[in-house]
């Protein structure tokens, strides 16, 4: 069997199209890395921002004739005193931040944000008293606070910005205005050129139906190039002392293996880009996982990426199963790829109408499955990684068996 798998890989690896696609992939990833690199909020920017804020507030104090360091109790007008007090507090907060930035004391920086949110939760301790549907919801603030605590406790260098508007969750259903909506999306759309966070953002795009389409093109002719139904190379393979099932199975295994290899390499390459041009980042960065009834938890980013890749590979196997089926039926590359793409897109589009954890098309949005977002929205917490792997696995097996059956029957 392994000889066949090696031979399959050799066949794929010897086509120039395969390399063109891989080169294109590397190019796209690098391009996206550059974009993320530019969009990353750097410590220098944060320092500058904090300095500007501090000097702006100091100027305001000067305008009011208040010397920094003098006693606030000397100010007679209570309204003015209150204002000065607020200004002083802002200055202090930003100076603390500044110190944190300059000394790379992330605990201090995160601590400031925690203080702000803790103060908020003192005033609105429960869900019912504050925003439930409108951005920024109580839930999103809670997530933000816990995330920051996580960063503090594990002494992780945060990916900036981390202010209170940086978590956008499914509970933020409505916005007061279009401006709010735009601001919310802007603030929560965080880029970083550190390895793990970049990979997290990259997989968000790559482990989707588009990524699957890429792989379909990469391996689109794996069956059809054997010239089914026209005395093609499959006849050569069939006159070797190997069982025909083996040929079919090893084809399936080799595309799955190569996909695994490519997804893994993409991960490695992204981390490498991060290490070379910025830093590796934290594998234990928190990723939000939804739980029923306004509950939530965090998953390590490393684990999250691993589970996502696993589920995506199952999605790929499912797509390959369709590809094999259509290849055997139509025997032409263009039709096989076209029909597989059609099934994938239509399946995903109509999958929200066939509710139930057994529907394999539900699992194409890998991230939303692992974070249990789909589960929460569909109010069905059976929709998770395990049922995804099972559902995709079983349906792939069924489709592959059908393809093999048709292949045998059509040998005339």
């Amino acid at each position: 069997m392994h000889k066949f798998i090696m031979f399959e890989m050799k066949k794929a690896a010897k086509s120039s199209f395969f390399y063109i696609l891989l080169a294109l992939l590397v190019l796209v990833i690098s391009g996206y890395f550059i974009y993320n690199y530019i969009q990353t909020e750097r410590v220098e920017d944060l320092i500058e921002e904090a300095e500007t804020t501090v000097s702006a507030y100091e100027r305001r104090l000067q305008e009011r004739g208040f010397e920094k360091g003098s006693d606030i109790n000397d100010v007679k007008n209570p309204l003015e005193a209150r204002e000065i007090e607020i200004n002083l507090k802002f200055i202090e907060r930003n100076e603390t931040r500044l110190q944190g930035y300059e000394n790379h004391d992330w605990k201090k920086v995160v601590g400031e944000e925690i203080k702000i949110l803790e103060y908020y939760f003192e005033r609105f301790p429960t869900q019912a008293e504050e925003q439930v549907y409108t951005w920024l919801t109580h839930f999103s603030r809670e997530v933000n606070l816990e995330r920051n605590r996580w960063l503090r406790d594990r002494e992780i260098r945060p990916v900036f910005p981390i202010h209170e508007g940086t978590e956008l969750t499914v509970y933020d259903e409505v916005f007061d205005s279009e401006i709010d909506e735009e601001a919310a999306h802007m603030a929560s759309n965080i880029h970083s050129s550190s390895g793990f966070y970049f990979l997290y953002r990259l997989f968000e795009l790559f482990l989707t139906v588009f990524g699957a389409a890429f792989f379909l093109f990469l391996f689109g002719n794996v069956m059809t190039r054997e010239g089914l139904g026209q005395n093609g190379p499959i006849h050569f393979i069939y006159t070797q002392p190997v069982r025909r099932g083996t040929v079919f199975v090893s084809k399936a295994i080799s595309v799955a293996l190569m996909s695994l290899l490519i997804v893994f390499s993409v991960g490695l390459f992204s981390l490498l880009l991060g290490v070379v041009f910025d830093r590796l980042g934290a594998w234990d960065y928190p990723v939000l996982i939804y739980e029923p009834e306004f509950q939530f938890s965090f998953m390590l980013m490393g684990t999250f990426l691993l589970w996502s890749a696993l589920l995506f590979l199952m999605v790929l196997v499912f797509c390959y199963a369709w590809l094999f089926l259509f290849s055997v039926l139509a025997r032409r590359t263009s039709i096989a790829i076209g029909l597989t793409l059609a099934v994938a897109f239509l399946g995903v589009q109509f999958s929200d109408q066939i509710v139930g954890a057994y529907n394999p098309f539900l699992y194409f949005n890998v991230y939303e499955i692992i974070t249990l977002e789909t589960a929460l929205v569909q109010e069905n917490f059976d929709i998770n990684l395990v049922s995804g792997v099972l559902s995709l696995g079983v349906s792939s097996l069924l489709i592959l068996s059908l393809s093999y059956f048709i292949l045998r029957v059509r040998m005339r």
Binding site: K3, F4, M6, F7, K10, K11, K14, S15, S16, R225, G227, Q230, N231, G232, P233, I234, H235, F236, Y238, T239, Q240, P241, V242, R243, R244, M411, R412
Partner: protein, 294 residues
């Protein structure tokens, strides 16, 4: 029993392409399979190797059912060059066979030398000429020293030298104890390879030994062709004029000496006598005369 095909029937839509084929081979030998285009030669070979399903009958190669793919360790089948992978090299193809059949890598060099393809062993098949592909196909089927070798049109695209080499390899293989079943349109080559010939006509097999049809064709060059024509017509000798310059006739129709006597008697000088052995072609003409595809 080396090859046993028993009552093989195959239907395409409504038409029977093979109407009950029986083949039994007990001794190593070369068998030629001959028939016009579309007579079902490739279909028969594909069925024998289980590449095609068939409606009735049984096939055993080396005493084993043909559905058992283990037989391909000792059975090879040379097919048309569409089975090759354009992006792979000749070496890749041969190495794969070695891998799958557990043959030593040294076999690759050995067989490449035997077939005469060392110079382009590492080149991609998509850049091969027709003849080069045919060499590779040959290398691929003899690399495992098969006991049974099926060949579908092995001579396609071969230059004369290669054709002679191919013939010699096949004769060597027979000496080594390989049974070869070869389909070809090149009747001259078949005459040189074997006496055993199976004609495929209307989906049935006519098994014949060429011995009974083997004959010689004579070509006489004479000094006066017109006169010779007149003499032979008068003597009622069946003959033809070849290429407007030679008198030609078959040994089975008339003895050479008789013709020489007739001509000499009337003073026609014979300048040269050539002869050619024909068997396959003659029998083929008899069988398929009038077939549109001949």
């Amino acid at each position: 029993m080396i090859v046993k095909v028993d009552g093989l029937k195959k239907k395409y839509k409504k038409d029977w392409v093979l109407k009950g084929i029986d083949i039994e081979v007990e001794e190593p030998q070369i068998i030629a399979l001959v028939g016009p285009n579309g007579s079902g030669k490739t279909t028969l070979m594909n069925c024998m190797t289980n590449l095609l399903t068939y409606d009735q009958g049984e096939v055993e190669l080396l005493g084993q059912k043909n559905s058992d793919t283990k037989i391909f360790k000792d059975v090879s089948y040379l097919q048309d060059n569409r089975i090759l992978y354009g992006t792979l090299t000749a070496y890749d193809h041969l190495k794969f066979i070695c891998d799958v059949q557990g043959l030593p890598k040294s076999k690759i060099e050995e067989v490449a030398k035997r077939v005469g393809m060392e110079s382009y062993l590492k080149k991609r098949v998509q850049n091969f000429s027709l003849g080069m592909k045919q060499h590779l196909l040959l290398a691929m089927v003899i690399i495992n020293d098969p006991k049974v070798l099926l060949m579908d049109e092995p001579l396609t695209g071969l230059d004369p030298t290669s054709a002679i080499d191919m013939r010699n390899i096949l004769l060597e293989l027979r000496e080594e104890g390989t049974t070869v079943i070869v389909s070809s349109h090149n009747l001259d080559e078949i005459d040189r390879l074997t006496n055993k010939i199976y004609f495929l006509k209307d989906g049935a097999l006519l098994k014949e030994s060429l011995e009974q049809f083997a004959t010689k064709e004579y070509y006489l060059t004479v000094d006066d062709l017109e006169k010779a024509k007149g003499v032979l017509e008068e003597a009622a000798v069946p003959f033809l004029i070849y290429n407007q310059e030679q008198v030609t006739f078959e040994e089975t129709d008339v003895e050479l000496q008789t013709v020489i006597d007739h001509l000499n008697k009337q003073g026609v000088a014979i300048l040269d006598i050539e002869n050619e052995r024909v068997g396959a072609e003659k029998r083929y003409r008899e069988l398929f005369e009038g077939d549109a595809s001949v």
